[in-house]
Symmetry: C2
Subunit: 420 residues, 2 copies
Amino acid sequence: MRLLVIGGVAAGLSAAARARRLDASLEIVVLEKSGTISYGACGLPYFIEGRVRQAEDLVVYTPEYFRKERNITVRTGAEVVAIQHPRREVQLRSGERVHYDRLVIATGARPLESAAQANEFTLHTIDDARRLKQFLVEKRPRRAVVIGSGYIGLEAADALRRNGLAVTIYDRNRNILHRDDEFLTGTIRKHLEQFRIDLHMGCEGVRDGADLVILAQGIRPNVELAAEAGVEIGRTGAIRADERMQTNLSSVFAAGDCVQTINVVTGCPAWLPLGTTANKMGRVAGANATGARERFPGIAGTIIVNVCGLAIGQTGLSVAQARAAGFDPVHARIDSLDRPRYFQGKRITVELVADRQSGRLVGGMVLGDEGVAGRLNVIATALQNRMRVDDLEMLDLCYAPPFAPVWDPVLIAAQQLKKV
Amino acid sequence: MRLLVIGGVAAGLSAAARARRLDASLEIVVLEKSGTISYGACGLPYFIEGRVRQAEDLVVYTPEYFRKERNITVRTGAEVVAIQHPRREVQLRSGERVHYDRLVIATGARPLESAAQANEFTLHTIDDARRLKQFLVEKRPRRAVVIGSGYIGLEAADALRRNGLAVTIYDRNRNILHRDDEFLTGTIRKHLEQFRIDLHMGCEGVRDGADLVILAQGIRPNVELAAEAGVEIGRTGAIRADERMQTNLSSVFAAGDCVQTINVVTGCPAWLPLGTTANKMGRVAGANATGARERFPGIAGTIIVNVCGLAIGQTGLSVAQARAAGFDPVHARIDSLDRPRYFQGKRITVELVADRQSGRLVGGMVLGDEGVAGRLNVIATALQNRMRVDDLEMLDLCYAPPFAPVWDPVLIAAQQLKKV
């Protein structure tokens, strides 16, 4: 019995590793089209920045490790060009055919636009990062344009600015981070200005005069291979799988950036490609491919990004997103300190969004310096439990002066929201 | 219509302020027996340490503020010696009688043992802290003994050590922080040794030879006044109130350190006097004293303390507590990094405790440097929502390298616990 996994980064390797843990006798083969597996793609901006010295430092495991320690065969440079499900075979670019009994599709995603000029770069794979780094070192560019203000665009802008480049960000959207939130856009613009990064929203972007262009308009799921094999594609454009990560084809699972899931707040399909989600989906797919019955419950949509020292976190729905999803949103936004003043408390902003009728929390945003991640996670946990604002307000969150003010900012925001 | 509040620190003033917000016409009088109201008692160790320069810096509001800004009368030096509920009157030490229509009892707690010698100190009130600080400045003591290893004892030990004193902690309990957890005791002992603080558990303590003795064996609720008036005392020894914070006497509410509540994990009465809980109870009592119907749902038992740079957080039940409460506890304890290594990730320990049969999470502990509070709060939120470990494992917690590893330590601990 052979489990075949297409894709050797987050989801694919999580699936393979989990399957091995649950089934010692299964034959497990992972096919990765690139030359590198198991790297932390989220660390790429920090390699560009310089904090991570070598791209190789982002590689967690090698094919060798998987072979020796896990009895998993990992083949790099092995690009699958077709899945022939009736014959339970995939075909590689080389022409070789590889049989499977169970299949996990973890083909990931790719940038919307690919680099066409020598000075254009995407920042999606480790090879992209190596190419960009080499360009920075050899060409010493001075002016960078970043197209796109999603988290990759923001992290890339930060990394380039720290390398001394003048940086301008353009985005055709009106607001940043796909949140449709003018307050957030304004806050980040003001923050970026302090670091002399210009942010221009609502325009296509002027690449002329830039020594370096980062293409970060977004990514799309790699579904062609699956779709051609008869795997159903969902309305988000990503592969549709059930909560077992099983596709419409028997014995075929899918996980990671190529798959959609459920937003636990709306109950609707959502596609939000992130490393954490990919790893969790991979674990579930790998387990179920061995015959287990595990479940991936969906996502709250939790994202955090650090831009020039400002931590920006969001989870669930913004006011605009909540309205679009059919809720009647009310929101409260408070400024507080993350700790008492005598512990160098710094400003932290918490916004909560709830549904007016039900009183149910539907989203939140946290901005600040320290303590943002923890508070965002509390809100995400509350969302996943469908908490009401009344109950949120009474959460028994920890307090001691080195860590928080006596009323945690999340609780203050909940109190404020109750008044609305 | 007059609302009378006995006690002017956390719970009492929260009650008064909330009542005012909901009812502009109510007459509100707060009676405080000491000379100072509205201070952050949790900040007292940091005044001893020196980080907070003056005790007055811990005072948030003055009686003047309450009179002018909130139309609330706050009388200091006004000690209530009796409650005559049939006549709706309290009697002050001066003999004066004060009428009430609604009463909130927020009489707080007091140390188990009081200071009897000139070099003995409790650290419970702002006056205690002032006296200790004066002693430190004037007598320049060199050797301190701390009796008790609860969070006050640990914070006091830390503060004194930072003042250059040799510090020894004694506790008659076998384990620290009332958790009955040898691992925790051992970890803290090792940590304290690095700062040359000696920790001796299971012994009464040797006060001879000490220039200074801190009495921190614990506190007990001030219930005598209420009990004599016919207010029911619960099995924890603190006042029994319902989830509206109402006592058995009509129109009489109670809030803060003098009241017991429900532990949301066990569903049983619990008494855990903390500032956050006092404030929440006070808000609910104040609201309901105006005729609202708010609810205090109980506590998870979330405590955090910083000792010489080690953050120690716990919530819910330890293994021993879970067993005593009738659960069949299983636990997992993992060591991880709070962030990737290239972001100076530091060691963090997460322990989760669950009930074997139901798979329900019943407690957790987090130890580390940064990121402890946020993770503890996620566990507390999970407890308050009665989450199962299966669901905890799939929480959509945030990830980006500046904030967390791709698998958050809480999720790793949940995975580990599932295997048990």
